[in-house]
Every structure is written in structure tokens, then in C-alpha cells.
Symmetry: D2
Subunit: 255 residues, 4 copies
């Protein structure tokens, strides 16, 4: 059974993409740092829907953790055909003085280094098997820095250039790398929700979410991720943006 490995599988893009692939015959191997119950609930929901899934706790910052989970899935579940790299490094706006060295380092470890580590072990396997897909969730901060975004922008800017490097080296060997710029707020309790806190998140949902479609809906994002993974190799997309219709693009936007 072909496997879709989701690194960063919360209730948001990661979980929705996992579900979408599972609905289309992939085994969804879902990795997240904590909340084993939440993870198990996602697996159960996919299975209840007739799909196949497994849950893996993964602290991507730990030595060998990414490497081990890939080896484990390859050995015990099946060959990884698609990886969704979905770890974020957004910490809200923080001034230079309030951004600790430790914070900056952690941002890079999550957003840049973890992707490099994952690519380094999984891409050679894909190449041996004739191909594969690496979907990378990215952010506005990958294309423009901003006040208070020192850590996030540096980490995401690194991510973007790494994706271009991987694409340049591996596209012709059958590995499709896609860098997906999520240019707006996602209706995701596990990321936006935690960053804003319950109250602000609910308020945002009321004013911009729901029928307004002013927040990016994870299940709609998942449609495009899935489409990217199905593109024929004669017409691959490397980079695209996604935002809600009611939102201004980052190049038209106030901070």
C-alpha cells in the first residue's frame, strides 16, 4: 500500500491532507509531537471512514527522531510515496530584543533543518523507486520578512531556498517537490487556535470564518495538495500560493 507520511499532523492542514490521501487509497502515517489522544482520534476517524492510517509521536527536534520514524514507516508500513512536511515555526510577532537565541535556533530546527533531515533520508529512497512527492507547507514569511518575524522569516526563507535546491537536484530523477505558500490565516485549532488563544480564535472565526470563507479551510487546502501530488510529471508545479478570496495577497497587505 502506498504511504503518505505527514510530518506535523494536527487538526489543520496536516490532518486534513492525511485524511484526503487516505480517502484516495493511501495509508496516512500521521506524525505529531504530542497529544497522543488527538493523534489516535485522527487515526480512528480515518479508519472509521474506511481508510488506513497510523499515528506516530515525533519530536522533530530530537536527534534521529525524523530519521527513525521514516525508517520505521518504511519497514513496518510500506514505501513512502508522498511526504507532507507540515511543521510550522510561527511564534507570533516578537521584537528583535524579545527573540532569544534559543527561539531563533528552534525556529530553524523545525522549519529548515527538519526538512533537510527528512529530505536527506526519504528522497534517496524515492529516487531508487523511480519517484515520489514532497509537499512542503510554507508561509508568507518565506517570501518577505517583516517586523517581529525575525525567527519565522529566517526559518521559512531557508525552507524555500532548500525546496528550490531539492527541486533542482531531484525533479529530473522523478521527485516532485512543491513549495506551497499559505498566505493567510488557516482555520486550524491546533496552530492558529493555540497561537491566538481560545477567545481570540473564536472571535476571528466568527468575523472572518464560517460562511464568510475568510479563513483558509484546511479541507479545501487539502484538495490542492492532493492535486499537486497527482500532477503528471510533464506538468509539475513547484510553487503556488493559497489564500482566502477575501484576503489581500501578501504583496498588497498591511502587516
Amino acid at each position: 500500500m502506498k504511504v503518505c507520511l505527514v510530518i506535523g499532523a494536527g487538526a489543520g492542514i496536516g490532518g486534513s491532507v492525511g485524511k484526503k490521501f487516505a480517502q484516495n487509497g493511501y495509508h496516512a502515517a500521521l506524525c505529531r509531537r504530542s497529544d497522543e489522544n488527538g493523534l489516535q482520534a485522527m487515526v480512528s476517524a480515518i479508519e472509521a471512514d474506511g481508510g488506513s492510517a497510523s499515528g506516530h509521536l515525533l519530536n522533530a527536534v530530537n536527534e534521529d527522531a525524523i530519521e527513525n520514524v521514516i525508517a520505521d514507516v518504511e519497514k513496518n508500513v510500506g514505501p513512502i510515496e508522498v511526504v507532507l512536511f507540515n511543521l510550522g515555526a510561527q511564534i507570533g510577532n516578537r521584537s528583535l530584543e524579545d527573540t532569544e537565541l534559543k527561539t531563533f535556533t528552534l525556529g530553524w530546527q523545525m522549519a529548515t533543518f527538519a526538512l533537510f533531515r527528512a529530505a536527506k533520508v526519504v528522497i534517496p529512497l524515492m529516487v531508487k523507486r523511480g519517484g515520489g512527492t514532497l509537499l512542503v507547507t510554507s508561509a508568507t514569511a518565506a517570501v518577505r520578512g517583516n517586523a517581529g518575524q525575525h525567527s519565522h522569516a529566517a526559518a521559512m526563507g531557508g525552507r524555500r531556498m532548500l525546496c528550490q535546491s531539492l527541486n533542482a537536484e531531484y525533479a529530473s530523477k522523478g521527485v516532485h517537490v512543491a513549495h506551497i505558500i499559505i498566505d493567510g490565516a488557516v482555520d486550524a485549532p491546533d496552530t492558529l487556535g493555540k497561537m491566538l488563544g481560545d477567545e481570540l480564535f473564536q472571535k476571528l472565526r466568527e468575523t472572518r470564518g464560517g460562511d464568510n470563507d475568510g479563513l483558509l479551510l484546511p479541507e479545501q487546502i487539502a484538495e490542492t495538495y492532493y492535486h499537486l501530488a497527482q500532477q503528471h510529471r510533464s506538468a509539475w508545479t513547484h510553487e503556488l500560493d493559497l489564500r482566502a478570496y477575501s484576503d489581500l495577497a501578501w504583496w498588497n497587505h498591511a502587516p
Copy 2:
């Protein structure tokens, strides 16, 4: 019946996208400058496939021509839900000295002004109806100029900035504008074929086309165009690139 209007419907992206939409229940209103037989053959092929289509000769440079064809389709066929603007302005590499004022002007008329004219009449109709989609085929030349590309790059650079302007003004009113960068050679007799001549085109097809998938296949491109038009408004793409897996991206060359 919802209508997909294709401006620039040759045997390539335009024709393939028209066909794809027709297979999914749209009426394909196909416009091209000449070759009425070829146009009629495309219409017949769609109809033979159970779809609905019509053919319209359109010289986009002529005064009122675009405006009239849109009015005609709206009146006699149905409300235009999707426009594919697919006019090219590639004339091959031509040095500055060999690029006549007339040529430069024509490039702009086809690639930039014709899009403006189409947008100016069709977007207000879409807004009144609550929304619509404008898919714009574009080219590498929209993001980087190059030797011999004076006319093409100036025209396409204008096209890209116009698309961003249209998007900024109309996305929130329900009009989805997508700027699609075709970053490579398309296996299209009507454009690449005519530019290269029969012999060179066949040679290219033999070395890079066919099972090598080294040319962008129009029918595969059409899958992504169709996907864009189906994106939910909470997660729209404004810009993406498409190229064959074996091709280097425009920002890369051999290291």
C-alpha cells in the same frame, strides 16, 4: 449552461482546456484567429464526446472584437463563468535591432491590452453574478527578461502585473484570477510547432517528448487549469508555475 470562454483556442493549451471543461459540463466557447476548419474540428470533437461547444473567429487586435465576442457569447450561449485567456506573444528570439516597433506593439496588443479589454467587459458581469474565474496563461518571460525577448518579456511582464491588479481589486468580489507560468516548451503544434517549423518540432518531440515527458503535455496542463477553476474560495491560488519534471526551473541553469 455555464460557459467557459477560451480566447486563444489552438491545438495546445487552449484546445485541451476547452475540452476538459466541456467534459465537465461546461459549454466551451472556443475563439481563435484563423483556421476555421481547425476550429470546427475542435468543436466537433467535443460534441462527438458528448460535450457542448461553439467556435468563434476572433482577431483580438481588432477594435471591439474581444468586446463583441464576449457580448455575443453572453447573449447567445450563456453566462461566462470561466475565461481562459490564452493568447501568446512569443515570436522567438529577436535582437533589439530586429524587433520592429510594429512587432513590439503587436506583442503588447495581444498579451497585455487584449487581456485588459477582456477583463474590462467580462469581470463586471462576473461580479454582478457573484463571481467567476479568469485563468491567464503566462510564460517565463513574465518573470524574467532575456536577450532577444524584448517584445515578449515586456508584454508578459505587463500581463503579470495586470493580473495582480485585477486580483487585488476583484478577488474579494468573487472573481478568481490565476496567473499560470508555463515555464517550458509545450507539445503544441499550433504554437511551438509553428514557431520551430515542422522539422525542428518533430525532432524536439522525438528527443524530449513522447514517453520522456520532457515537453509539457497540454492535456496534463488542462488538469491543473481545471483544478484552479474548482478551488473553493477559501483557498484560491493566484500564481503557480508548470514545467516538465526533466526541465530546470527558469531560475536554475547548470551550476
Copy 3:
């Protein structure tokens, strides 16, 4: 005597750059569309300062007008070493519906086509003489479209891609093309002043200009233009941005 030709020499960037070059031993050949008195005053001011200058009325949209002024200056003044192409096409924010075909066309004629025409006649002369410099004033609209900027952005986007094409074809032949993104409001009566009207312009000057340095000062811009023209050919700049320290960059900016 080496000549610096200024196409678009108002009381702003054009006039200040002309003056700067005149102070450094160039003849400043100043071209503008109207206001012969203003033009003559600029010439006189340069001459009073010990410099050399001439004034030329030029309606860049007219057939052969640019071509003739270049031929005239080459014949009667001297070989053109530097061209500052400084025609703008900003018309303020105008919705799609309020942007007439004529307006859109005029924007392109001024911002894109006029540059092409100038380049087409002057660059071959420069190549024959072993080199030259083409400084092109550009705008934020060259790198991002925005609501109400349909005409301006399309024209400036074309300008930018044309500059890249000229650079790609002619840098190695000794012609230095620089695309200068003026990313903010310039303290210039002839452009900003006319667009805003006297009252608003004075108010803007009071709140952001003067000692606040919140408006780009033309004489300070001229320093960088002059520096670009003096760069050694082993280290040329093709593109740079300029903005007031107190302004946000376009990628951080509200419309």
C-alpha cells in the same frame, strides 16, 4: 563633451539628476513635454552654476519624437553617454471600470513603448562607442500590481521586463542598464504635486517632508543615480530600490 540625456526632466528626479551630472562635467540635455519656461529655468540654473545644459521639448508619444531628439542631441550637442529614462505613467488609483482603453494605452506608450523606442536608437550608438549607461526610473508598480493600478502596473511591469531584456542583451557589450525602483512618494512638485493638487501636496510635505525626510528627496536620489553611472564595469548593479527610512518597503506595505 559627454552628454547625459534626461527624458522626463521635471522639477523632481529628472531635473535633479540632470543637475548632478552637469555638476560633474556632463552636458545635461533636458527633455520634457511642456512648460518651456520651466525647462529654460532649469537650463539657466545649471549654467549659472557653471554647468552645461540644453532644453528640448519632447512629447514622447508622438511618432518619431524620441528618435528625433536623440538624433538631434547626438548631432548638435555630442555623443550621449548616459540616458536617464524618467517618464512616469502614474495616474493615481483608478478602478478597472474607470480606466479607459485610451488611458491604458497611453500608460504603455509612456512607460514601456517610449523606453523601447529610446533604447532602440540609442543603445546601438552606445555599443559602437564601447559603452554607455541607461538609468531607468521605475516604481513599486513594476514589482506588484494593486487595486486601481491596472494601467500603471501593466506599464511598469512591462518596463521592468524590458530592462532585464536589454541588460541581458547589452551588458556584455558595455551598456549598463539599471532599473531603479522608487518605492515611495517623491518630494517633486511636477509629479506628486500635480497628482495630489497644491493643497494636499503641501499638507503631505508638512507631515512627512522637510526635516522628517519622509519623502524621497530628488537631490538625494540623484546621488545614487550618479553613483550607478560611475560603477566600474566589474561591479554593476542592475536593480535596486530607494525609499525613505520612515517608509515601509512595498512588501510590508498597505496600499
Copy 4:
């Protein structure tokens, strides 16, 4: 005496910029990792030329090293008005499989993290004093990834986004951050020379250097760095590129 601190002062851009500032009345505080003799020779050369300079050994990767050298210079030499951050992280082309985790980490430590650390200590000092300048040498890899450039591109992409973030937060407080894209080979024994080895470097110098000006000359680069630091705050440049006239821009390759 106003101080220009050069982090990464080899025989190339760093040394030449230090010398240029020293010629214009700055004390040049030159920092490099090793080669104390070479460092002392640069200091002596500046002093023999009538300038003021000091040499500081600095291993930027070491904990507190950057922080300490800044504190030391501030205390014992004078207030730092200009910082040139000139550490590179180019390791030549190296495939993904040949890029060790350690290498990737080191690239980031040098190119991204060290800049963050320097900015974090020096910018608040500049703000207190009403302003300052941070000149950041960058590379093509900051704007496009490429095969074999995984480490370098990720590090430089992070650097660029960090520069934009610093600029967004501090320009209005008087700190001028400039991100300078060196888009080509520099005629620098300490960087290019060491990377290529003596023989290849001499060959490159013979074919492209010397009177051909096909290599970027550090002393010419220094002219533009110095100009940037002198720009009036009403007209600051945040980003520009530099390349030899005979080189194609990174976005171009042979058509």
C-alpha cells in the same frame, strides 16, 4: 572616531570595504577567523595609508564570540556606526547525500545565526545613538536555490528574510539595513581562491579577470558599499545586486 566593524575581513570584499571606510575617516575594526598574520598585514596597510584600524580574531560560531567582539570594540575603540556582515557559507556544490547534517548546521550558523546574533547586540546600540548602518553581503543563493546548494541556499535564504525583517523593524528608527546580492565570482584569494585551489583560481583570473573585468573586483564592490552607507535617509536602498558586466544575471542563461 566612528567605527566600521567588518565581520569577515579577508582579502576580498571584507578587506577592501574596511580599507575604503578607513580612507574616509572611519576606524576599521577587522574581524576574521584565522590567519593572524594576514589580519595584521591588513591593519598595517591601512595604517601605512594614514588610516586607523585594528584586527580581531573571531570565530563567529563560538558562543559569545560575536557578542564579545562587539562589546570589546564599543568599549575600547569607539561606537560602531557601520557593520559589514561579510561571512560566507559557500562550500562549493555538494549533492544532498554528500551534505552532512554538520555541514548544513555550520552553514546556518555562519550565514544566518551569526547575523542574527550580531544584529541583536549592535542594533539596539545604534538605535540608542540615533542610527547606524548594517551592510550585509549576500549571494545569488539567497534568491534561488540550485542543485548542490542545499546548505548554502538555505542559509542565505534565511539571511535575506532576516535582513528584510530587520529593515522592517528598524529602518524607521534610523538603522539602514542593506542586503547586497553578489551575483558572480569575486576576484578574492581568500574565498574564491581557497574554494577553487591555486591552479584553478589562477586560470580563472587569466581568462575572466584582469583587463577583462569578468570577475567582480573587491575594490570596486567597496565603492558601492561605501555609497550605500552614505545614502541620505530620505533615499535608502535595501537591496541591490552586483555582477560583472560580462556575466549573465542569475535569472538569465543562454536563451
